[in-house]
């Protein structure tokens, strides 16, 4: 039946490839020298990263006062960036876990890098709850350690503490999941390695994987179970992040629809970021055969869908704030849409709700340039979403006497762009030294979804793939 499938479905791997070709294509970036484009991007990213690190050190050295915060607006860019990065960090695990459960084969070309992106994004996210603390050197107090002050435990009622657990769990589990998948591919690189150094490095990294039938048997099992675990995890993480706001009393935060709305938003921004990176990688490493327009189109569909979900959430908020008849709620949203920060609100609306609607048209879905631009636009919009939620709710809350405005300082800005720099530094390094496509998985689907099946194979029909 797969032959039939291969006819009606658009191939996910183009060109007439043998298993060896896949190995060659994927290992080329690792084994050959980087091209100038890579160096250019890397240079750019490192400059940003250094600038950011400088600003972070300044903040830690002098005090949070170097940011633009004030007595009324206690969080602004710091937590905005945090939520933004966590959101971005959702796509990876979602793609590799949820799509695995749904047996979506098109995930295989992107999941490896998507997960890498997740891990780096979550690193950036985790940075902010750290540096936003007034006394970061006491940050370990949020862990349940009996400390020198006697048995002082953290407060498990606090959503911020839930965050600590959610983020660390999410990070470490994603990391494990990712690495388990990497091992067989490391083995491939190891066995091809010509230099001593590579043999040692990848020998260690591949944990002595031999690819015996038993290994593969367990491999598939753990992939499945971890996917099963990661799926609720993905949803829990952003739900919990949203509870930072939802469980508070501040009008504009105190909203029950936050969990689903945040998760949708997270997938939205995550996929957008994956698209951005994929399109770059496709160009830099010439992966056109593996990251086909089909992949781009699938992701654009997800973007459009989640974008619309977010849109619905925005409208629901507005409606409920009016319908509830609570004066503070009512004002909070009136103020969002028409107050001094309305420019942020409307740029959010345009970027997140209106722009993705373009993807209703196949022409646009399959247009690389447009996709690339929109993927960035979407992430700008999602940053504004968090800014709007955090700042416009805080700056005008219950007592009108305390109303203020928030004005960022250059440090706020520096730290934010700095993390983008660090993120790209990490990702580019990864792209040079890791098998960026899941070799073994691609090989399993080559026969079924390759344009011309497997080069040099006499077999002309595929075997039942696990159902």
């Amino acid at each position: 039946m797969h032959i039939v499938e291969a006819e009606i479905r658009e191939p996910l791997i183009l060109g007439h490839k043998s298993y060896n070709d896949i190995t060659e294509d994927v290992c080329r970036p690792i084994e050959s020298r980087a091209n100038s484009l890579w160096y250019m991007l890397f240079g750019l990213a490192s400059i940003l990263a250094l600038w950011g690190l400088g600003n972070i050190l300044y903040t830690v050295g002098v005090g949070i006062g170097v940011w633009g915060l004030n007595k009324t607006v206690g969080w602004a860019w710091d937590i905005t960036n945090f939520v933004w990065w966590v959101g971005i960090g959702h796509a990876g695990t979602l793609i590799s876990a949820v799509l695995l459960l749904f047996r979506q084969r098109w995930r295989m070309a992107i999941n490896r890098s998507a997960e890498a992106m997740t891990i780096f994004a979550v690193m950036m996210a985790a940075l902010f709850p750290g540096i936003h603390m007034g006394r970061i050197w006491q940050a370990y107090w949020v862990l349940p350690l009996p400390n020198q002050f006697g048995s002082l435990w953290p407060n498990f009622n606090s959503p911020l503490l839930w965050d600590v657990f959610a983020i660390s769990t999410y990070f470490s589990v994603s990391l494990g999941f990712w690495y388990v998948g990497l091992i067989p591919d490391f083995a491939t690189v190891r066995d091809r390695a010509t230099t001593k150094l590579y043999k040692v490095i990848f020998g260690t990294l591949s944990f002595g994987w031999s690819g015996s039938a038993k290994h593969w048997n367990r491999f598939e099992e753990i992939s499945l179970v971890l996917a099963g675990l990661a799926t609720p995890l993905v949803f829990s993480v952003h739900s919990i992040v949203s509870m930072d706001f939802a469980t508070s009393v501040i009008p504009g935060w105190h909203t029950t629809i936050f969990p689903p709305y945040f998760v949708a938003g997270a997938i939205f921004s995550g996929f957008a970021m994956v698209l951005t990176l994929m399109i770059i990688m496709r160009k830099v490493f010439h992966f056109e055969d593996y990251l086909t327009m089909k992949h781009i189109e699938y992701m654009n569909i997800v973007v459009m869908l989640t974008g619309s979900m977010v849109g619905v959430a925005y409208l629901t908020e507005l409606f409920i704030s009016w319908y509830s008849g609570v004066e503070y709620e009512g004002y909070a949203f009136m103020n969002r849409a028409t107050g001094p920060y309305s420019w942020a609100y409307w740029s959010m609306m345009t970027c997140n709700v209106i722009s993705p609607q373009l993807f209703w048209f196949k022409k646009f879905r399959r247009n690389l340039v447009l996709t690339f631009i929109l993927s960035i636009v979407v992430n700008i919009g999602m940053w504004f979403e968090r800014f709007v939620i955090i700042v416009t709710s805080l700056h005008r809350d219950f007592l009108t006497s305390s109303w203020t405005m928030f004005h960022p300082t250059y440090v706020d800005i520096g730290v934010y762009f700095g993390t983008i720099g660090i993120f790209f530094v990490l990702f580019l390094l990864y792209a040079r030294s890791f098998p960026v496509l899941a070799l073994n998985e691609l090989k399993t689907i080559l026969r079924a979804t390759g344009e011309h099946g497997v080069k040099g194979s006499k077999a002309h029909h595929d075997h039942k793939e696990g159902h």
Partner: protein, 174 residues
């Protein structure tokens, strides 16, 4: 003991068919090395379904009970405090606030417990020696491992038969 031959194939489909034939002949196949999972070959060569999932369940259970115990000890038993009027005298009433953390700890224990078991069971740990007979088996070759002792066929017959099933190369290791 330990005379083993490795039949190398260059096509997952051929391996699959070959393995079938061999088993039909009563040949005991010790193992198959492949660059990616060959679906459906496990039952043929007699690899039983792994019980990793069961461990996972146990780890999860442990994690959850640990978490609940911890919540009770930290917040109720050891150092109860009046935090925003929340009930600090009974776990049950305060439980809703603890659900997120309990869930996360459960997942944490399950996932990491499982990954660890997986590594141990596979005997894949940092710096371990790889056991695959030929480097190409992680690229595009598929190796069938057969021990010569107690086989229905003699070595010669076996080699000949393996060739028949489409092996492109046969190595013997004493």
């Amino acid at each position: 003991m330990g005379n083993t031959i490795y039949a190398l194939y260059n096509d997952d489909h051929v391996v699959y068919e070959g393995a079938k034939k061999l088993v039909k002949k009563g040949v005991k196949i010790k193992d198959v090395f492949s660059p990616f999972p060959i679906h459906g070959i496990d039952p043929i060569i007699g690899v039983r379904k792994t019980r990793l999932a069961i461990c996972a369940f146990i780890y999860g259970l442990t994690g959850m009970s640990l978490a609940i115990l911890g919540m009770w000890y930290f917040m109720i038993e050891d150092w109860p405090m009046n935090i925003g009027g929340k009930p600090n005298y009974t776990l049950l009433q305060n439980l809703p606030a603890f659900v997120p953390v309990i869930f996360e700890i459960t997942v944490l224990c399950t996932a990491h417990g499982m990954i660890l078991t997986y590594f141990l069971r596979n005997e894949t740990l940092p710096g371990m020696k790889a056991k695959n007979p030929d480097p190409r088996t992680t690229d595009d070759m598929f190796a069938v491992e057969i021990e010569l002792d107690h086989q229905p066929l003699t070595e010669e017959e076996l080699v000949a038969y393996l060739k028949e099933t489409g092996a492109v190369e046969i190595n013997k290791r004493y």
